[in-house]
C-alpha cells in the first residue's frame, strides 16, 4: 500500500516535466528546481521565515541607529513588557494593575534588561549580528572548503592526501569544542568566533566538493575541454565548479542554522561579541542571573528569536535538499 503511493507521487513530477519539455519551453534546471521547491511545504515556510529574517536583519541597523555604549536607563531596570505582550501577560496572570487596551504604552514591547535597555531593540540588532556572523562563517567555510576540495578531487595527488588528512584531524574534534578552544587562545571577539566556527565547518564543504570533483573529472565534457587545450585551473573553474554547486548550496543553507547556533553558543560562553554590544547568545547568558526572580522576558525573547532563525534556515535547507538532490527525488 505504502509502496504504491510512494511510486505514484514519485512518478508525477517527472512525467509533468517531460510533458512540459515537449510542449512548451525548453527544459531549464533552474525553473525545474524552483518548481520542486515551491511544491515542498517545508521549503515554502522556511523560505518565508528566512526572507523575514534577512529583511529584518538588513532593515533594523539601517532604520535604527543604536548606540550600545551609551544605552543605559536604570530607572527602567527590569521593566516587564508593555504594549500587547504586557497586556496579554497581565490578563493571563490576573494582575491587579493591568492596563486597559486604550492606555497601552509601547516603550518596551519585550521589556527591559538589567541596564534598563529595550530588549526589543537589542533583539533586533542582536539578530543582525547573529545572522551576519552565521553568513560570514558559512561564506568563509564554503569558499575555503570548496577550493580545497575541488583541487584535491581534481588533482588527486599529494595535495589530495595532505588536505584530506588535515580535514580528518579537524573532523576528529566535535565542532563546537574546537571552536571554543580556538577562540579561547585567539582571544574572545565576534570576528574570532566567526573564523573559528568557519574553520570547524571547512571539512564538510571540502569533502563534498572533493566528491563532486571526483565524480565530474572523468566526464566527457571535461575530457573535451582538456582535448581543446584548456588548462587545469580553467577546467576546475568553468566546468567542475558549476557542476558541483548544487550540493554545496544545500549544505551551505543547512550549515547556516548550525553556524548561527554555534556563534551564539560562543557568545553565550562569553567568547563572541563583547558587551555592551547586543548579541543573542550573550543576552541569554546575561538573562541567567534574573531567571530565578521570575524575569522571563529577559530570556524568552532572545531565545525565541534564535529558534525562529534556525528553524527558518533548517526548513529552507531541507526543502532545497529535496529539490536539488537527484538521489532523493521521489524516494521520500
Amino acid at each position: 500500500m505504502t509502496t504504491t503511493t510512494s511510486q505514484s507521487t514519485a512518478a508525477k513530477p517527472v512525467s509533468l516535466n517531460t510533458q512540459q519539455m515537449g510542449r512548451t519551453r525548453p527544459y531549464s534546471p533552474f525553473r525545474d528546481t524552483m518548481q520542486r521547491l515551491w511544491r515542498s511545504p517545508s521549503a515554502r515556510i522556511g523560505g518565508f521565515l528566512s526572507f523575514i529574517i534577512v529583511l529584518l536583519a538588513i532593515a533594523v541597523p539601517l532604520l535604527d541607529n543604536y548606540d550600545a555604549i551609551s544605552d543605559r536607563n536604570l530607572p527602567a531596570r527590569y521593566d516587564p513588557p508593555d504594549c500587547f505582550i504586557g497586556w496579554i501577560s497581565a490578563r493571563l496572570t490576573n494582575a491587579p494593575d493591568a492596563p486597559s487596551i486604550n492606555e497601552l504604552t509601547c516603550a518596551y514591547p519585550f521589556g527591559a534588561d538589567k541596564n534598563g535597555r529595550s530588549i526589543f531593540q537589542r533583539v533586533g540588532h542582536g539578530m543582525s549580528v547573529s545572522l551576519a556572523a552565521g553568513v560570514f562563517s558559512v561564506a568563509i567555510a564554503l569558499s575555503v572548503g570548496a577550493v580545497i576540495g575541488l583541487i584535491a578531487g581534481y588533482s588527486s595527488g599529494w595535495f589530495d592526501s595532505v588536505s584530506m588528512r588535515t580535514m580528518d584531524i579537524i573532523l576528529a574534534f566535535p565542532s563546537l569544542l574546537l571552536a571554543i578552544a580556538l577562540v579561547t587562545v585567539a582571544g574572545a571577539s565576534l570576528v574570532n568566533g566567526m573564523i573559528a566556527v568557519a574553520i570547524t565547518q571547512i571539512p564538510v564543504y571540502a569533502r563534498l566538493a572533493r566528491a563532486m570533483a571526483i565524480a565530474n573529472r572523468n566526464m566527457e565534457f571535461v575530457t573535451a575541454a582538456r582535448s581543446v587545450g584548456a588548462r587545469d585551473l580553467e577546467i576546475v573553474r568553468k566546468h567542475i565548479l558549476p557542476n558541483s554547486l548544487a550540493p554545496l548550496i544545500v549544505q551551505a543553507t543547512l550549515g547556516l542554522g548550525t553556524a548561527v547556533i554555534e556563534t551564539a553558543a560562543l557568545g553565550f560562553l562569553g567568547l563572541g561579541q563583547q558587551p555592551p554590544h547586543p548579541e543573542l547568545g550573550k543576552m541569554l547568558a546575561d538573562s541567567q542571573e534574573s531567571l530565578a526572580s521570575g524575569k522571563w522576558w529577559v530570556m524568552v525573547f532572545p531565545g525565541l528569536t534564535i529558534i525562529f532563525m534556525v528553524l527558518g534556515f533548517n526548513l529552507l535547507g531541507d526543502g532545497l535538499r529535496d529539490a536539488l538532490d537527484p538521489r532523493l527525488r521521489g524516494s521520500d
Binding site: T5, I169, A172, L178, A181, A265, L269, L291
Partner: protein
C-alpha cells in the same frame, strides 16, 4: 575480520597524532607570550619566567612536543596554573559526572528515538509520523542553551517541579563515592534516597542534552527503515505469512540498524561538547563546566587537556562504532 580491524586501527594513529599536534599548538596560537597571557600584564618577570619554565616554553618546539607527548603517555597532563593541581587527578574527579550525564542522555535518546523512528516509518504520513518529524525539526533547531534556560524557568522556577542546580542536594543526602557515577553508587550502596535525588537532578540536564541526538536518531531510523521496508525480502517475509511485528523487528529493523548505530555513536561526540553548555547552565560539576571555568580563568593547560581528552574519546568512539559494524553486518566483515 582481524585484517579489517588492524587496518582500521592503523588509520586511527595518524589522526590521533594530528589531534595531539593541533592541541599542543593551541597554546602557541595565543598572541604574544602565553605566560604573560595567563598571568596578566602586571605579573612579575620572575613569575613569568617560572611559568615559562613550567610550561617548557623555553625549549625548541619539537622538543616541547615530544616531552608533552611523553608525559601524556605516562598519564601526566601537567598541572593547573592556578592551584598547581595535577590535571589528570582533577579530570578523574570530574569526568564521572560528565559520563553519567552524557550516557544517561544518550540512553534515553536511543530508547525513545529508535521506536519513534520505526513507528514513523511503518505508519508513514500518518499523524504520528508528521507530529514526530515536526518534533524532530524543532529538536534540531532549538539551541541547547535556549532549551536549558526555558526548562529552568518553566519547570524549575515557576512550577518548582525539579531541581536545576548540581547533581545532589548535599545537605539532605550523603552518598559514598565508589565509581563517581551517582546513580550507580547509590544502587551499589542501596541508598535509595540518594538514587531518587540523583535521578531528579539528572532529568532537566539530560532533557536539554538529549533533544538534538533524539531528533537525529529518530530521523535516521525513520529513513533507514523506509529504505528497508521497500526491499523484496520484506515482501517475501510478509508473503510467507510472518506476523507484521516479526517482520518489522527481525527483518526490517535489523537491516536498518547499521546507519542507526553509526549515528548513535557519532552523537556521543555531540553530547560531550554539548556538555560544556549544559553543565554550565545547570552548574553540573563535570569537565564541561570545568572547561568553561578554565576559559574564564585563562588556565590554558586545562583547556588543552579537556579538548584533547574529548577529541581522543570521539576518535575512539568512532573506531568502536566501526568495529561494532563487523558484528552487526557480516558484509563488512567479508570485504
Amino acid at each position: 575480520m582481524g585484517k579489517y580491524l588492524f587496518r582500521r586501527l592503523l588509520e586511527t594513529i595518524p589522526v590521533v597524532v594530528g589531534v595531539s599536534i593541533l592541541v599542543f599548538l593551541l597554546i602557541h596560537f595565543i598572541p604574544g607570550d602565553p605566560a604573560v597571557a595567563i598571568l596578566g600584564d602586571r605579573a612579575s618577570p620572575e613569575n613569568i619566567a617560572a611559568l615559562r619554565e613550567q610550561l617548557g616554553l623555553n625549549r625548541p618546539l619539537h622538543e616541547q612536543y615530544l616531552i608533552w607527548v611523553g608525559n601524556l603517555l605516562r598519564g601526566d597532563l601537567g598541572n593547573t596554573v592556578r592551584g598547581n593541581i595535577p590535571i589528570s587527578l582533577e579530570i578523574s574527579h570530574r569526568f564521572p559526572a560528565t559520563i553519567e550525564l552524557s550516557l544517561f542522555a544518550l540512553f534515553i535518546a536511543t530508547v525513545i528515538g529508535v521506536p519513534v523512528g520505526v513507528i514513523s516509518a511503518v505508519r508513514r504520513n500518518s499523524v504520528i509520523d508528521t507530529a514526530s518529524m515536526i518534533g524532530a525539526l524543532f529538536g534540531v533547531s532549538i539551541p541547547i542553551f535556549v532549551l536549558g534556560l526555558l526548562l529552568i524557568f518553566f519547570v524549575g522556577v515557576e512550577l518548582q517541579l525539579l531541581p536545576f542546580i548540581g547533581r545532589l542536594d548535599n545537605r539532605e543526602v550523603n552518598l559514598q563515592t565508589i565509581t563517581g557515577l551517582h546513580v550507580v553508587d547509590s544502587i551499589l550502596t542501596g541508598n535509595w534516597r540518594a538514587l531518587g535525588n540523583a535521578l531528579e537532578h539528572l532529568i532537566l540536564p539530560s532533557i536539554t542534552l538529549m533533544t538534538i541526538p533524539l531528533a537525529i536518531i529518530a530521523r535516521i531510523t525513520r529513513s533507514a527503515m523506509l529504505e528497508v521496508l521497500n526491499q523484496d525480502y520484506i515482501r517475501t517475509a510478509r508473503a510467507k505469512g510472518l506476523r507484521e511485528g516479526t517482520v518489522i523487528r527481525m527483518h526490517a529493523l535489523r537491516n536498518a540498524l547499521l546507519p542507526v548505530v553509526t549515528i548513535i555513536g557519532l552523537q556521543l561526540g555531540t553530547l560531550l561538547s554539548g556538555a560544556v553548555l549544559t553543565e554550565t547552565i545547570f552548574a553540573w560539576p563535570g569537565i564541561g563546566k570545568w572547561l568553561f571555568d578554565s576559559i574564564v580563568a585563562r588556565d590554558y593547560p586545562i583547556v588543552q587537556s579537556v579538548t584533547l581528552l574529548i577529541a581522543v574519546i570521539y576518535v575512539f568512539v568512532n573506531l568502536a562504532v566501526d568495529v561494532l559494524y563487523t558484528f552487526i553486518d557480516p558484509r563488512v566483515r567479508a570485504s
